[in-house]
């Protein structure tokens, strides 16, 4: 038990930011307007050509054991097939989980603690050898090895014996909780009911790894492909990654990936303004280019929206993500619900949305859960502030709370230039709260310092900007880490920043985790979110909207709600 839950949760913290990046990878704005359809994007897609991917972050540690992805990632998903995967469709349909290597999304038994999968027939690696269930078991076991860390903490938390397992290099016997009764069947035994296991099975840890070809930490240089593309070269740890067709992949076993281009050339380490500039000029190879991690900023959007040709080449997507104000009720005066409610009423969401880049890049939020069907979004607005705040109501509450002469508080934020927890958002809140008689002092921290402090129970500030994104599009990974009382970590990375430990909330989380009907679970998550919202432990501010440019020769744009970004497995350049 060396790797305690603390470690696991640290990983979870990392995962959130990575999930965003991965989400960018899987970009797929719902084709929100007719302009896209009228452009070159509507022409019939054909095979061939080279797709260039212009990115800022490199594809580091390109090993299925080490990648932290939402739904298998965007570039990784071209090389690694998993038991299940995300539905490659626009909008809300794209937030569904569908079979990939398996014939279905998993058959639960024993109260959703046992999950059984059967592999499709005729599955092959890039060398033509057959993919077996033992390879998937081995791939998962590798991810427990300390030298291959980086993945999400769920497998360790959920699988029986997972907490103590050291990986196949130290423990050749493997994990007993993963059974492979025959070459095409794999059975997972969990220590508690987890109705959302099919979502987890989309992550790259569920990709097959042939034991004979495993080279340990060197495997990332040339992982054996099960998907439509194989790695040709990988320079500087994923800075430049060239993929070519895997001739042994067959579309007849893969309903999700289209694989139109012959080659994929991923170039990273570019500045975001350079990426957007190259995509907008769209010259030479850049005409067949996309980005999987770079959004348009407010100023770039202002320029693009004034140019019809460019505006037609913008994909819009929604990733399940919420930016909010968090309170620490252990710090005065935020122990008083009336103070928290007063701030909820006083917030001016229109100026916050503008600070985040305007209504095209952010949607005002009054719910903690993202405004998407798969999360079970249930609209509520317990402390209606309208578009621009209700300072009068806030003032009344402050008076009731004994702060008739005003109140001075400190708002902690990050100095990152991300338009999320950055100074722009903080000053917008400062200005709005001034109208309600609340003087806000700003405490801007260096980004790493900020993250360390807000996730440490001992240093957590009373009033700070925060954000949260889900590992998969469901209420579970969104609500449980933040509001499950048993997930409070006193020393180590803590995400339950409101220190909520409510028996009824904890019990409802357990009850929903038992559900295997994901639609029913979504409804219950939504209802739970509404109930937790009454406590005013957070003030939801906005959900981001992703806008991304793509080159003028790029066709077949698919942007799901799962990732919010263009899905490169669907893109054609001919």
């Amino acid at each position: 038990m060396r790797r305690s839950s603390v470690t696991a949760r640290r990983l979870a913290a990392v995962s959130v930011s990575l999930a965003v990046a991965a989400g960018a990878v899987a970009c797929g704005p719902e084709d929100n307007d007719a302009r896209t359809a009228s452009g070159g994007a509507s022409a019939k897609p054909a095979k061939g050509g080279t797709l260039t991917v212009l990115n800022s972050d490199p594809q580091q540690d390109f090993d299925p054991a080490r990648l932290y992805t939402s739904g298998g990632g965007n570039v990784p998903s071209l090389v690694f097939r998993t038991l299940t995967t995300r539905n490659r469709e626009d909008g809300a349909k794209g937030a569904e989980v569908v079979p990939d290597l398996a014939t279905d999304t998993g058959r639960p038994s024993e109260n959703a603690t046992v999950w059984t999968y059967t592999l499709k027939e005729g599955l092959k690696y890039e060398d033509g050898s057959a993919i077996t269930s033992a390879d998937i078991k081995y791939g998962i076991e590798r991810s427990f090895a300390a030298e291959l860390s980086g993945g999400a903490p769920y497998l360790r938390d959920w699988l029986i014996g997972g907490a103590d397992y050291q990986g196949p290099y130290k423990d050749e016997k493997g994990l007993d909780s993963i059974g492979t009764p025959d070459e095409r069947t794999i059975v997972f035994r969990l220590n508690k009911p987890e109705g959302e296991f099919p979502y987890l099975a989309t992550q790259t840890q569920f990709a097959p790894v042939p034991k004979a070809k495993d080279t340990g930490t060197k495997y990332e240089e040339h992982p054996v492909s099960s998907g439509p593309y194989k790695v040709v070269s990988n320079e500087n740890d994923g800075e430049r990654l060239v993929l070519a067709r895997n001739t042994h992949w067959s579309a007849s076993t893969d309903a999700e990936r289209k694989a139109y281009p012959d080659r994929i050339d991923v170039r990273s380490g570019l500045d975001s303004s350079v990426i957007n500039q190259r995509l907008s000029s769209s010259q030479g190879a850049d005409a067949a280019a996309v980005t999987t991690d770079t959004n348009l900023g407010p100023a770039e959007l202002a320029k693009v929206s004034g140019d019809e040709e460019l505006a037609a080449r913008v994909g819009t997507g929604h990733f399940g993500y919420t930016n909010y104000i968090a309170f620490n009720p252990k710090v005065k005066p935020f122990d008083d619900p009336k103070v928290r409610q007063a701030i909820s009423y006083a917030v001016d969401r229109s100026s916050v949305v503008n600070a985040a880049g305007g209504s095209s890049l952010a949607e005002a939020a009054t719910t903690y859960l993202p405004n998407q069907k798969s999360f079970g979004h249930t609209p509520y607005d317990h402390f209606p502030a309208g578009r621009s705040g209700n300072p009068a109501k806030a003032g009344e509450l402050l008076k009731e709370a004994g702060h008739a002469n005003g109140l001075t508080v400190t708002l902690t934020h990050s100095n990152a230039k991300d338009f999320e927890t950055s100074p722009e958002i903080a000053t917008a809140i400062q200005d709005a709260l001034k109208k309600a008689g609340i003087t806000v002092k700003l405490q801007g921290l260096e980004d790493n310092d900020y993250k360390d402090r807000i996730h440490d129970a001992k240093t957590e500030p009373g009033f700070f900007l925060a954000h949260w994104g889900a590992d998969w599009p469901s209420g579970g990974p969104f609500l449980a880490p933040i509001f499950d009382g048993r997930q409070i970590v006193e020393d180590g990375a803590n995400f339950n920043t409101g220190f909520l430990d409510d028996k009824s909330v904890n019990a409802e989380i357990d009850a929903i985790n038992k559900l295997t009907d994901l639609d029913e679970a979504a409804t219950r998550w939504g209802a739970l979110d509404k109930k937790i919202g009454e406590r005013a432990l957070t003030v939801p501010l906005f959900h981001p909207v992703y806008k991304r440019l793509y080159g003028k020769d790029v066709k077949n744009i698919v942007i799901s709600d799962w990732t919010g970004v263009l899905d490169i497995s669907q893109v054609a350049v001919k």
Partner: protein
């Protein structure tokens, strides 16, 4: 011409002479330079604007922190509504993208931070520089060695990196503008200390100082009565160069996010926020950039004018309207100046000739 000759031997000695002649001469020389006068006017205007910031914004009817969400086009990333960034009778210079805050108000309040921090930092630099320089020159051999080597270390320190480090570790509760001024002042005094030490050593060897010493005056009295007046010229000159330097350092620190904190406006901070907007809302970038450019240029030209007026032999490298072009041309044709017109060394026969030329040229 005799007083000029004295000045050439002992720089600044003309100021040490009691009475109005030195100051009068200074003003005469300064007035003779049109560029310096224009620059002085610009600096005076900037200082006035900074001091009168609350008044000016009250006349405009705006303030630097109030948001105007209705004045920006939210769907287009928050670009200001209307031509020229929404400039007009309500908002003289338009509004800031995304927030709709008044740009004129932010610009004039930003002048307070830029000028205030730069001036305060300069004062700190001069106080430390003069104290260390004089102490090194008058002290024992060991004190001189110690202080001079320490000064060398300070000069060798990279200003930006040191400032970034210092500003990052000080708690954010400390008043930020004061802190920025202190940090710049405490790091960048090395050059002024070196100049003061060299000048003091020169002065120490002069007859009137030797005479004072022979009369039994103490070190402190000599420093105060005989040395400090002689140091005034180089110190004032160097200060005039330091102020614009400090303005750019403050802007750079704010640009990097460690300077003054929002919502306090500063030009450097406006530049940071504006750098991505240069295509969509160019005036947002051009206003603070232009203000910074004009201020630094005016202060530099004024500083050069002051230097020429105080110590005319140190010919200006700036040849903007100082009337020195003609002088340089005539000198060049005469071929009498072995050092060339740009020589800044106080010694040499050519140096003694130049001030007269400067006066002549400027007076035309």
């Amino acid at each position: 011409m005799s007083d000029v000759l004295i000045a050439s031997r002992a720089p600044g000695a003309d100021l040490s002479v009691p009475g109005a002649s030195g100051a009068r001469q200074f003003w005469r020389r300064l007035r003779a330079q049109r560029a310096a006068l224009v620059a002085a006017g610009a600096v005076a205007a900037l200082v006035l604007v900074a001091l009168a910031a609350p008044l000016l914004t009250a006349v405009e009817g705006q303030d630097p922190t109030t948001y105007h969400p209705d004045l920006v086009d939210s769907a287009r990333g928050g670009v200001p509504v209307g031509p020229f960034g929404g400039a007009g009778g309500e908002h003289w210079l338009g509004v800031e993208p995304q927030t709709g805050r008044d740009l004129f108000a932010r610009l004039v309040y930003g002048a307070r931070v830029s000028l205030g921090v730069a001036l305060a930092a300069t004062v700190v630099q001069i106080v430390i520089g003069v104290a260390v320089g004089v102490a090194a020159a008058l002290g024992t051999h060991w004190a001189d060695q110690l202080l001079s080597r320490f000064t060398d270390v300070i000069v060798a320190m990279p200003l930006m990196i040191m400032s970034l480090a210092l500003l990052a570790i000080v708690p954010s509760s400390f008043p930020r503008p004061v802190l920025v001024a202190l940090v710049i002042g405490l790091i960048a005094w090395g050059n002024i200390a070196k100049i003061v030490r060299a000048q003091t050593l020169t002065l120490k060897g002069l007859d009137h100082v030797a005479a004072a010493r022979l009369s039994g005056w103490g070190g402190w009295r000599i420093a105060r009565r005989e040395l400090l007046p002689g140091l005034a010229a180089p110190v004032i000159t160097y200060a005039a160069i330091l102020v614009p330097q400090n303005i750019t350092v403050e802007a750079a620190l704010s640009f990097l996010g460690v300077g003054v904190k929002p919502p306090t406006p500063s030009w450097g901070q406006m530049l940071t926020a504006a750098d991505v907007w240069y295509q969509a809302a160019p005036q947002y970038l051009l206003l603070p950039a232009g203000a910074l450019f004009v201020t630094v240029l005016a202060l530099t030209v004024l500083g050069d004018g002051v230097r020429t007026a105080l110590d005319p032999r140190a010919a200006s490298r700036l040849r903007v309207g100082t009337g020195r072009r003609r002088e340089a041309a005539s000198e060049g044709s005469g071929g009498t100046d072995p050092e060339g017109p740009g020589g800044a060394e106080p010694e040499g026969p050519g140096g003694a000739e130049r001030p007269g030329g400067a006066e002549r040229g400027g007076a035309v």
